[in-house]
Every structure is written in C-alpha cells, then in structure tokens.
C-alpha cells in the first residue's frame, strides 16, 4: 500500500512540472486562466443528483491531492472525469466509495452525500456503502475461481444467497436464486452469450475484455446504484474497448456511472457530462460533454481537449 502512495507522489511531481510548463505558455494565451472561475464548475442539470460532493479535500501525508472540489453528479447518466496523469481524478473517484480508507496515509475532509447521507460521517456502514457504490478497476481482476463463483461472490458473502452444505442442511438452498443472479448480471454485462455454457470454468481462462466484463457483472450482482470505473478499458484492445463502451452506455439507463479515462475520444463518445481535472487536484471545468469538447470556458481545458498539452 505504501507503494501506491509513492507512485502517486511521483505522478504528482510529474503533474507539477506539467503545470509549470503549461502556465508558462498560458501567460501569453490568457490571463483569466491564472485563477479558477467558480461558474465553470457550476453544472446545472435536470433531475436528481445521485452524488453531491462538497468541499472535498484529500491529503496523502503532506501532499494535497484533491483541492476543495464540489460537484453534483446526476443520476442515471455517464459522468466522465478526464485530465492528465496525477491530476487526482482516480483519487477523487476512490473517495466516492471510500476506497481511500485502504491507503494508510490518506486523509479526507469534506462531505460526499449519496442518497442524502454523508458517507464520511462516523457511523457509515462501509459494507452497505460499497454495495450501493460498486467499482471496476483499471486492469481486469477476477478472482481465481469459476465464472459463477466470481459473479455470485458478493451476494454470497453478504448472505443474500445461501448455498452449499449449510444451505442444504437448513433447507434454504438458494442455488436456483444464485443462478438467477449470475444469469441476470452476466446478461447485463453482455457476457452471458459467451460464457453461458462454461460457468464452472475458471475466470482466468477468459480473454482480457471478457474478464473486464466479468468484473462489471460481479459488481452488478450486488445490485448497486452507482458504478465507479477507473479507466476500465485502458488495458484492453480496441474491439474489447468498444464492447465496454457500449456496455457503459447501456448501464447508464439504469445506473449512475462515473468513469475516469485518459482517452478523450472515449469520454466524448460515452459520457453525458465531463469534468476536467487539470492542475494538481483541482476541478477546472464541469459541464455537458458537448460543451466541454466544443466550446469550453477555460482556455486550458480547450488546450487539453484539443491535444495541445497532456
């Protein structure tokens, strides 16, 4: 875990040097970019907010990784977080289901409200929170178990399905219910057709793209409201990436999806709104994806999305 922190610090330094380069070039371009304008991040949308973040700060030791971010994420939509390496977008994502708790040196200030409850209040039940807010990681990480066991892992451990010896003994054998969850989740993850005849095979035998969709199915099996994805397609080939992207768009009909991505075309293709993180841990602009990519307020964001830096 300390390794993670170290890597992060390196990235941070990288981004600092990036920032320097960029501010040199920007003094010529526009003076307004020297400071952030609040209205750029005030994104107005119709409907309910699934997640409301207010004044969120994250520190890794002395390192200020997230600098006072406030944003509302609308439900049942795809929100893309983009920005150069080390800008804090993954850290921000990991705040939304408190995965940062697993890093010893991390300290979080501010509030994150999900369903009207601040998840950083003392008595938050992490189990319930993470059942509600699922996560998919950068590299596919299925367990070395069968495909069926991978998908039903969450429900089993939460006691939602009761299979095995004890289930049989107590008469409440849920094998049928388990299979239903597995089938529903795999279908939602667009993987059912490919694996329905080999559910008992080891998940590590699947291709990278299939493994990633299996991870999505595993996350869907606990029936979350929000799905966080940390560069879910960056380790995959173009065909598998396209499948994941289609899947994300489908999932947004039912779930709130927040995607971190390096790939700006991907963000433009799949997301409804985009948040741009530029300087170390600051949210620069947050708006409709079309607006961000066609006519952003910030010149730095324009430079970034048109590929002039980053």
């Amino acid at each position: 875990m300390s390794d993670q922190t170290v890597t992060r610090t390196n990235e941070e330094q990288q981004s600092n040097s990036l920032t320097e380069q960029q501010s040199n070039s920007l003094t010529v371009d526009a003076e307004t970019d020297e400071r952030l304008v609040d209205s750029w991040t005030n994104y107005e949308f119709e409907g309910e907010a699934a997640i409301t973040v207010e004044d969120l700060d994250v520190y890794y030791g002395d390192d200020h990784a997230i600098d006072s971010i406030s944003m509302e994420i609308p439900e049942q939509s795809v929100t893309a977080l983009i920005g150069p390496s080390g800008c804090g977008k993954s850290t921000y994502l990991r705040c939304l289901n408190r995965m940062n708790d697993r890093i010893d040196s991390a300290r979080v200030d501010g509030t994150v409200e999900i369903d009207g409850e601040n998840i950083y209040e003392g008595d938050t039940d992490l189990v319930e929170l993470r059942k509600k807010v699922g996560m998919v990681f950068q590299s596919p990480n299925p367990f070395p178990k069968s495909i069926r066991q991978n998908v039903s892992y969450g429900p089993r451990k939460h006691g939602d399905v009761n299979v095995g010896l004890l289930g049989k003994l107590l008469g409440g054998d849920d094998s049928e219910a388990e299979l239903q969850i597995v089938e529903r989740s795999l279908k939602q993850a667009a993987l059912w057709d490919e694996v329905s005849d080999r559910l008992e095979d080891n998940a590590l035998g699947l291709s990278g793209g299939q493994q990633q969709r299996l991870c999505i199915a595993r996350c869907l099996a606990v029936d979350p409201d929000v799905i966080l994805m940390d560069e879910p397609a960056s380790a995959l080939d173009p065909v598998a990436t396209a499948k994941i992207e289609d899947l994300i768009e489908q999932l947004a009909e039912e779930y709130t999806v927040v995607v971190v991505t390096h790939n700006m075309q991907q963000a433009a293709r799949i997301s409804d709104q985009t948040a741009v993180f530029l300087t170390g841990g600051q949210l620069v602009e947050y708006d409709d994806t079309n607006k961000i990519f066609e006519n952003p307020e910030s010149d730095r964001v324009e430079d970034y999305v048109t590929g002039k830096f980053g």
């Binding site: 010893d104 993470r130 590299s139 069968s146 892992y153 969450g154 451990k157 080891n202 996350c219």
Partner: protein, 517 residues
C-alpha cells in the same frame, strides 16, 4: 548441414575441427562419469581393458584430450581454421586458472620433491601469478585451451607412466592423514574432466561469446548432473542395504495374502522375524500431531502479520525472530521440551510432548512460507473484494487464503521432511524402550469422562519409539545388534518421509488445480 557450415565460416576442413572438439567433450564426459562411479566403488580400479588398467585408461584419455585441445588452440591461433576468438582471454578466466595453478603447483612440489609447507605455498603463489597474468593476456583461443591441455597432459603422463597407480599413497608428514589412490585419482579425474569439457565446449563453438556460453552451459549441466547422481546413489545405496531386511520372511500371495513381518511386527523375544511396526506408528503420530499443532497456529500468525499488523518495527522483529527460530538446533527444542513439557505431563517421556516439541519446530517454517505465500497474492484481489463491500476477514478466508494455499503446503512439505527425521528431541522427550513389542494405540485409547478434562488418552502420555530414534539406538547399541536391522529402519524412514512428501505434493496439486482449472 555442410552447406550451412561452409557458408558460416568459409574455411575448408572445418569438419575436422568440429570432430576434434566433439571428441574432447565426449572423452571428458566419459571420464567424468567413470570418475564418479570409481569414487563410489561402482567400477573397480583394477578393471583392465585391452591390457590397460582403469587408471591408465584415464591417463590415455587425458593425453588424447590434452593434445587435441592444444592442437585446436594453436590451429585457431595460427589461422589454420577461422574462429571467432577474442584478442585476450580476460582476467576472469585468468584468475580461475591462477587458483588452479596455485593448487597444482603447491601440491606437485610437495608430493614430488617433499618441500615443506612454506616452500610449496611460495611455489604455488609464483605459479598462480604466472598463470593468472599469462592466461589473461593470451589470445582467447590459446588461453582457454593451452593451460587445460597442459594440465590434462601432465595428469595423463602421471597415470599412463604409472607414477600414480592403484597402490599409490601420499602420506604428508605435516598432517595426520593418508591419501590413497582409489580416492585421489577419481577426484582429480572428475575435476580435470570438468575443465577439459569446459575447454572442449568452447572449442566446439569456435571461441567468442558463443563459445563462452557453451562452455558455461556444459560445466553447469555436468555439475547439476553430478548433484542428482549423488542423490540417486545415496537412495540406491540405502535401498540395496535395507531391502533384504525389509523383505525378510515376507510372503506375497496367494491373492491378497501379503505379509511383511518387518513392517507389521514389533520386537518380541523368541519371535522368528522381528519388525519395526511400533516405531513406524510412533513416527506417523508424531508428524501428524506436529502438523495439526503447527498449521493453524502458523497460518494464523502469518495472516495476522501480513494482513492485520501494521508493517513496521514490530513485524520486522517478529520476522527476524521467526527466522532465528527456524535455524535453532533441534537439540535446543528437545531440551526445552525436556525441561518444560515433560515435568508437566506426568514427569515421563510421552508422545504428546514429542508432538508439541516437533510442532514448535515446524511452526517457524509454516509462518515464514505462509507469509511469503500470502504476500504474493495480488493486491487486486483484495481491492476487488473490498470494493464489493466484503469485510477483511471474509476476503482473507475466501480469496487470499485459497490463493496462498499452494505456497503454504509447499512450506509444510519442507518442514515435515525435517521433523520426521528429527532424532534429538525424540531422544529427550518421547523415547522409552527403543524396540517395543507393541505400537501405541492412540485411536483406541480415548476415554470420555463426565468430569473435566472430559477426554483422556493414556497412549498419548506414554513413551513411544520412532524410526530415527530406533536407528540411533541400533547404531549406538554396539555389539549384539544386527546391522541389517538398522539399514531396514533407514529404508523405511526414507519411505515414510517420501510418503509424507507424496501426500503434500498431491494436496499442492489439488489446491493449484482449484485456482486455475
């Protein structure tokens, strides 16, 4: 083949060069093998082929190989054959030959001219210096062949001319030891064969980096082969010595009517065939007891140290202490059991005390290997499980431990091998009558009572024999004990340990298969 070779080097007669090189390597391998068999008495030094004794044959082989090496080196150097030799041999090879030169020079002056220690060391140093510097600056084709060739020629002359024959003895006055030819000649032959094979392999690939690679490969390969050969020889030796006793009075058939008294009987006065059944049972129970004690404690400690405890000074101290415990001599464990456990178990030696002492001995290894296995489980699994809202203990139980299981089992296998053959602690805390008539009946001795402690097992609290202890008893018994009984015990001990290995390896395969079926 020939077309390829021709286009590669464009030198005529390259086949001769290759043939010489292959001949040298082949000769060296043959002398290497014969050296080992002679050392272990498998081939007698008196064997004569075509009127030549074995040692003379060695000599002839070295004469041929040495001449071949020198010829090949010179042929390459004067440009008779086109090779890829480097300009210099290099200091590394030079230093290696310096060491060889020191040993050779020193020994030869002492043995041939009877020079004292100071003189021979001085001569050795001079030879070493010359060899190091000389070889280092020589062209590679000369530097890698000439010294080896000269050594081989010298050794060959000594053997063929009969300066060193079967009856040769070196009896240095300064130390109280005598070196006899049947030991010395095979040893020198083996060492020199390695050198000749190395040099020949370099010649075969025409020097250069390809040649050095080939030389190193052959030398390391022969070395590994030697190791395995020693191991096999050891096992074969025990089997040959022990098998007659093991099968004494054994009957196979008709049908399933198999009886091997050595394995199924105890030692009873007047019995026709005595056996070691009680000792086998004792050893098996000791190992089972130790494993049952050590595995839960060891894995539990490893899980705590790796998953829960904050990595820092505390875990570092524990880690060092565990490593130190693993290398603690077994007699110390035995003494601890003798002073601490035995008085608490009715002040007499018992199986239970032995199980606990052996369990303590096994514990550090289980902790060390389990920690390594748990550490090597990817963090992604833990992240994935945590992100699903599964708590840490359930994650450890259903993801981390299953993934670490093959590694844990490997550790237990290694440990069982050690404790099954342990003699010292058993001698102190378990041993009673070394050759008992009856085996401890653990399963049949459980008594359940209404009052605490509810379960009693008298057999666990009684002394027992064990295979290594019995072996020790046979060896130290002196006159009157038959030696064959000891060899039979040794063979059975070997089989019991291998049996435990087999169980361990099978379960490791099972756990691995579960992970990636």
């Amino acid at each position: 083949m020939s077309g390829e070779t021709a286009s590669r080097t464009a030198a005529p007669g390259i086949d001769t060069f290759d043939r010489v090189a292959l001949g040298i390597v082949g000769t060296a391998i043959v002398t290497f093998l014969l050296g080992w068999t002679t050392l272990f008495d498998r081939t007698s030094p008196d064997t004569a082929v075509a009127g030549l004794s074995l040692f003379a044959l060695f000599g002839a082989a070295f004469l041929l190989a040495g001449a071949g090496l020198i010829a090949a080196g010179i042929a390459s150097n004067v440009g008779l054959f086109e090779t890829t030799a480097d300009q210099y041999t290099g200091l590394g090879t030079g230093v290696a030959f310096g060491v060889v030169g020191f040993a050779t020079g020193g020994l030869v002056t002492t043995i041939l001219f009877g020079v004292g220690a100071t003189g021979s060391v001085l001569v050795g140093l001079v030879v070493a210096l010359i060899a190091t510097l000389g070889v280092a600056v020589l062209p590679e084709d000369i530097g890698t062949t000439l010294p080896v060739g000269l050594l081989a020629l010298t050794w060959g002359v000594l053997l063929v001319a009969g300066f060193v024959d079967v009856g040769w003895v070196w009896d240095p006055p300064s130390i109280k030891a005598t070196f006899h030819a049947p030991i010395v000649v095979p040893l020198v032959t083996i060492a020199l064969s390695l050198l000749v094979a190395w040099s020949g392999a370099i010649v075969a690939e025409e020097f250069g980096s390809q040649g050095r690679q080939n030389g190193a490969y052959l030398m390391i390969g022969l070395n590994a082969f030697g190791m395995i050969a020693v191991l096999l020889l050891l096992i074969l030796f025990v089997v040959r010595k022990g098998l007659p006793k093991l099968l004494e009075g054994a009957q196979f058939g008709p049908g399933l009517n198999i009886s091997v008294p050595f394995l199924t009987k105890g030692v009873v006065l007047g019995q026709q065939y005595n056996g070691i059944f009680p000792a086998i049972v004792g050893t098996v129970w000791l190992v089972i007891g130790a494993v049952v004690l050590a595995i839960p404690m060891g894995i539990g400690a490893a899980v705590f140290l790796t998953e829960y405890a904050e990595q820092g000074r505390f875990t570092a101290v524990i880690e060092t202490a565990t490593n130190a415990l693993w290398s603690t001599p077994s007699i110390v464990y035995g003494l601890f059991g003798y002073a601490f456990l035995v008085p608490r178990f009715g002040n007499r030696n018992s199986l239970l005390a032995g199980m606990m002492v052996l369990g303590f001995m096994l514990l550090p290894l289980v902790v060390i290997t389990s920690r390594e296995a748990i550490k090597s489980v990817p963090d992604e699994y833990r992240d994935a499980s945590a992100a699903l809202g599964v708590n840490q203990w359930q994650t450890i139980r259903s993801v981390v431990l299953p993934a670490a299981m093959p590694g844990v089992v490997t550790g237990v296998i290694l440990g069982v091998g050690r404790i099954a053959g342990e003699t010292a602690p058993i001698l102190l805390v378990t041993s009673g009558q070394p050759f008992p008539a009856r085996a401890p009946s653990i399963l049949g001795s459980f008594r359940f009572t209404a009052a605490p402690p509810f379960v009693q097992n008298e057999a666990l609290l009684q002394a027992s024999s064990a295979l290594p202890y019995q072996l020790y008893a046979v060896i130290t018994a002196g006159v009157g004990q038959e030696e064959a009984f000891g060899w039979g015990t040794a063979l059975v001990l070997l089989m019991v340990v291998l049996g435990f290995y087999a169980i361990g390896i099978t379960s490791r395969i099972y756990f691995r298969k579960k992970l990636n079926q």
